[in-house]
Subunit: 363 residues, 4 copies
């Protein structure tokens, strides 16, 4: 089940310390401009080693396109790409006890000892490079229709960015979000130091922290999505829960909306200058009603758990005999994965929206 999507289909492959990771992107309309510099810039946003808060493991992450592009233009054939794995220290992972919070255990049970454990193997966050590649192409498609997606760190280790940049559609807020999303540490200037301090405090303690990524999708045509299984929420959540370490997904006010009264939660509707063109004064529903976009910004958040790989000693079991064992991880790990999840969340949403817009005949 490594293929996602209906008309815009993404197949990802790879293992952290295998020869390569990559993806096949199927359904890209012929004639779409494929800008390798833009793709590289997106991959660079996800790449490790961009700031003091991230793992020093450094990958160049240069994608090689194998098909589907000629002279910078999509040919209509599936676009396959690979990114070679380099700089892998496989010695770090030999026969250690099962890492708590990781998929070591479930991979062992599911694949009967055949899974490649090095660097997390199939379960590595590195696999999201393929998503980011596909997402860059999806973003290009969407941009042609005025759809843009920007994400940022909404909270880290419990510290929260209280500014609501998501509710309105004003271009000033959109531009502010865009600029934040592109920062090496994609948090609002007011929050950056606090967030970083919490990450580094955990790092110093041999520990890690989690965070919440908030994404806003602007310009999605009203009418996108379907009731029930084809809801924007269903499809976006299926994608976002594919991203390693995500444990929660919500739209609009999300879990908070369950505390409100209907009179507070319902977004009042007002005319917006056309016969069937409306807007809301609030956006508690995050741009989605009945699973379908209403034209307001689509707002969603993904909760990213603390990096499971920590230096502190933990209780576990050894994978061979299954006996109790202490584990102390060495190796290079992000003390907080949430900053690097920001471009991945954007990419995932771009893939979903490109698929939905193709289905809806908008692309």
């Amino acid at each position: 089940m490594n293929t996602f999507g209906n008309l815009f289909r993404v197949t990802i492959f790879g293992e952290s310390h295998g020869p390569a990771v990559g993806c096949v992107v199927d359904g890209v309309p012929a004639g779409t401009k494929i800008d390798e510099a833009e793709i590289a810039a997106e991959l660079e946003r996800r790449a490790p080693g961009r700031s003091g808060t991230a793992t020093p493991r450094r990958e160049t992450d240069i994608p090689e396109i194998l098909s589907g592009v000629r002279g910078g233009i999509a040919t209509g054939a599936p676009i396959a790409c690979l990114i070679r794995n380099e700089n892998a220290h496989s010695g770090d992972y030999a026969e250690i006890p099962l890492r708590p919070g990781h998929a070591d255990w479930t991979a062992l049970v599911k694949y009967g000892g055949h899974a490649d454990p090095r660097g997390g193997g199939r379960f590595s966050g590195r696999l999201t490079a393929g998503l980011v590649f596909a997402g860059a192409i999806a973003k290009k498609l969407l941009a042609g229709k005025g759809v843009s997606i920007y994400a940022r760190l909404k909270s880290v280790a419990g510290a929260e960015d209280a500014i609501d940049l998501a509710s309105g559609g004003a271009s000033a807020r959109k531009e502010a979000l865009r600029q934040i999303s592109l920062k090496p540490f994609p948090a609002a200037d007011d929050c950056e130091e606090l967030f970083k301090a919490r990450i580094l405090a955990a790092k110093d303690a041999g520990d890690s922290v989690g965070g919440i990524v908030e994404a806003v999708c602007f310009g999605v045509p009203a009418g996108t999505g379907e009731p029930f299984f084809g809801s924007v929420e269903s499809r976006a959540a299926a994608m976002l829960f594919s991203v390693p370490a995500v444990k929660g997904v919500e739209f609009g006010r999300g879990f908070e909306i369950a505390k409100l009264r209907g009179s507070e939660a319902n977004d009042p509707i007002m005319p917006a200058g056309g016969k069937r063109s409306f807007a809301t004064t609030t956006n508690n529903n995050g741009g989605l009603l009945g699973g379908i976009a209403n034209g307001m910004p689509i707002v969603c958040r993904a909760a990213v758990k603390p990096t499971a790989s920590i230096a502190m000693a933990q209780d576990s079991v050894d994978p061979i005999m299954g006996e109790a064992a202490r584990i102390e991880l060495k190796g290079r790990h992000d003390p907080c994965i949430a900053p690097r999840a920001v471009p991945v969340v954007e990419a995932g949403l771009a893939i979903v929206l490109a698929d939905l817009l193709l289905e809806g005949g908008y692309l």
Copy 2:
């Protein structure tokens, strides 16, 4: 996109005030016992009018099975069922302004005025009757493998059931959950009065409230699910976000886990009496690692927004001319839909798990 699942496939159909709602359940193994009384009992849990907190609209919800069952046994053919719509007061819905928080607006845009608006049409919660029917069959399949799913109200209008019934696998807690789930008002005894009081207070004010449903899946075999797009979370969330009014889905500690440190969030692993049989001392990951079940209870929560239909006057627009208009809804509405979402969440998860277990060769 009204079909869900891969090997266990559910197609739902119907509109609130049309002739019938129903579903086709495909992939039920021949020989599965189909107990119409059990199905009726599940439908009764979802049916309106069960308690003073719900809409007085009363449907008998008797399913008619059209195929796939002979002598109470699944034949291997798809099981189609319909439930006739009765007791519909269509006059309540004629040409009113767009109801804030509802799909009236997005349906108008998407279907160009052709959607049946009566009773919410395609977007009605009544459509979940088909899910509950299919879920009852899925539960039967799962029960044969020792898998059971129980949900309850975790919170209503901000009041929360603080008891953690989800973290352990002890049979006492499982039985407690089972009993709560079957109550007409599926909340713990300690919380029932408080929850009901908040609902009735909102009702008296012509308003509504939301709530959170928590479900626990016991006995899911370790190894169920896949990395990335086939993750248990991805597939369960795709289903749960199909349920009208759900705005957030989380697993294990969910959004709270983003506030923890890795040393708190990671569930320590311990031997559990077999070579590859382990358990955890905590269950912050809600039984899921790398998208795959580890054998601990799978815990998830769905946030249900306050019922959008409220009696209080609201600002909106009229659907014909698109001009500003006040709306005051009459008709019969649940002041809180969360209690009736409890069996729907269970059913949705049962459908997902039956599909995953069939794929994994467990069924």
Copy 3:
């Protein structure tokens, strides 16, 4: 696996002697006119008992639409319909030996004795009523884009209609085909008596015969379809081989093309009055190149085997003990199923083309 299609999705259900057969048609654009008289006329073409060559079993085949249509217009919701089974003589099928050429044997193995054997159960040709219903809706959609599909009996029991009505696009030939397709016995006037005579000769002998159905699709936009797995041939064949008794499918010259030289088989291309508008002087490729329509008529044929149910005594085994047994079938059976397969083949192709045209953004 009882759902077919990507954007235009058809789910069929039912068993020959169960309560009903039917289908759910998902993806019909809101606003599509749903003409019940047209649907009834299509079902009537498939219904048994229309001529002396068919089974005297007579079904009224009146579909009841359960959802998705209001005031004769598609609402955008899935269109569910059921057709009640009547006039079933179940006594004819009790515990007889496995019928050679039938699915009795494979159903017994696959469903372990739980399949409903009456009237062929799930495997009955009666299930194609659901296809015809869905096909009628698809035809309506296609007609709006100038696409039409007409089939006829190309051969019966080895006697062949030698007239090539398929190669050109001339409207005279199209109209001739249309008229033949609508006849109670859908064969060219020149062939009707011969074909009928062969069928009746077999019937008199307690035997049956097969035939070949040829369908031509006019007006399919050039560019419809995709290379490889999405080829028009792949998708059409997947549908046509779903029709009971079909053992071969071919396009254009089909198997005959393997005997030709390239210089004979290649269709010369000529200008057709537009920059990228071409035509061919022959149509050996049946309107399809590289899996994609070129705008010429799409021609395909399906080979329908002789009705497996015959009165003559045959060697078989009994289903209980598995011992050798003679079987002499009574009951009412079509001595040749090919005439009734004509509207089914049309319907199947209409479903496939509606799906492809929706994917291609033509509908």
Copy 4:
């Protein structure tokens, strides 16, 4: 639509003269032995330049595995592979008129001039290398369950191999078929010279010929497949019609069965030594009843049209202005593609059967 399959999923990519062709094979059970020598041997069977009847273009076709295999064992992750394109003479294809019988025309219309025309681009038979790679893995899986697939040339240019190697299950015939399938020119010894002579005669005339490939699948468990859309025929045909140049697919007696009477076509059933274990004395249905395998050999044939690229002058149009133009192709082309289609047909069927057997719980 470049992904095929449900549980065993194959995604193919590439263009004839682009950097590489390849595939991603998803769903291979962890622990499956991946024998690179066996895979190479299968690719070698498809590779050009093996005999005097084929194109002298010579590719080494060495696959590079990028993921999913470690130490010769499948890890459970998707297996991605690429095969670099070499030895491409792109100059041969510059701005020539549309080649009759080719996808040049339909690609031009569909992809608006963006498709890579070199060597047929996406439509090249070279893309089938990915299928053969995936098929080799599927064959390995199947072999573990006693399932084997052998194909051969049944006819070339109208000359036919009259020996029926398909009807029985005797191991002698199976071994004979196996040996024929592995020959560089996979025809029975008795036919080889005749078939080759016809190919070379066409070649000498600057022309080409077609042929028919017949495949037999031995050991498929009775009960494999489903009625209607999941029929073995539907799924196999969807795959076989994906193979470039295939214009017809039939099972068992195929189109010939339409000429028989039921008493001739029905395969008499006899006991085969177990309670629900039967066999037939003939195999006109090709091992398939009601879409489901009955345990007899599954027999199918695919008609392969004459190579469209011929040296003889043909009438066509130029792609730029759309005006009439003569075309005389140079370059290196197979005068008959059918011999090289033999391993591709085997691979395609292996992929389909692996998927069906996984679904059925046999693998």
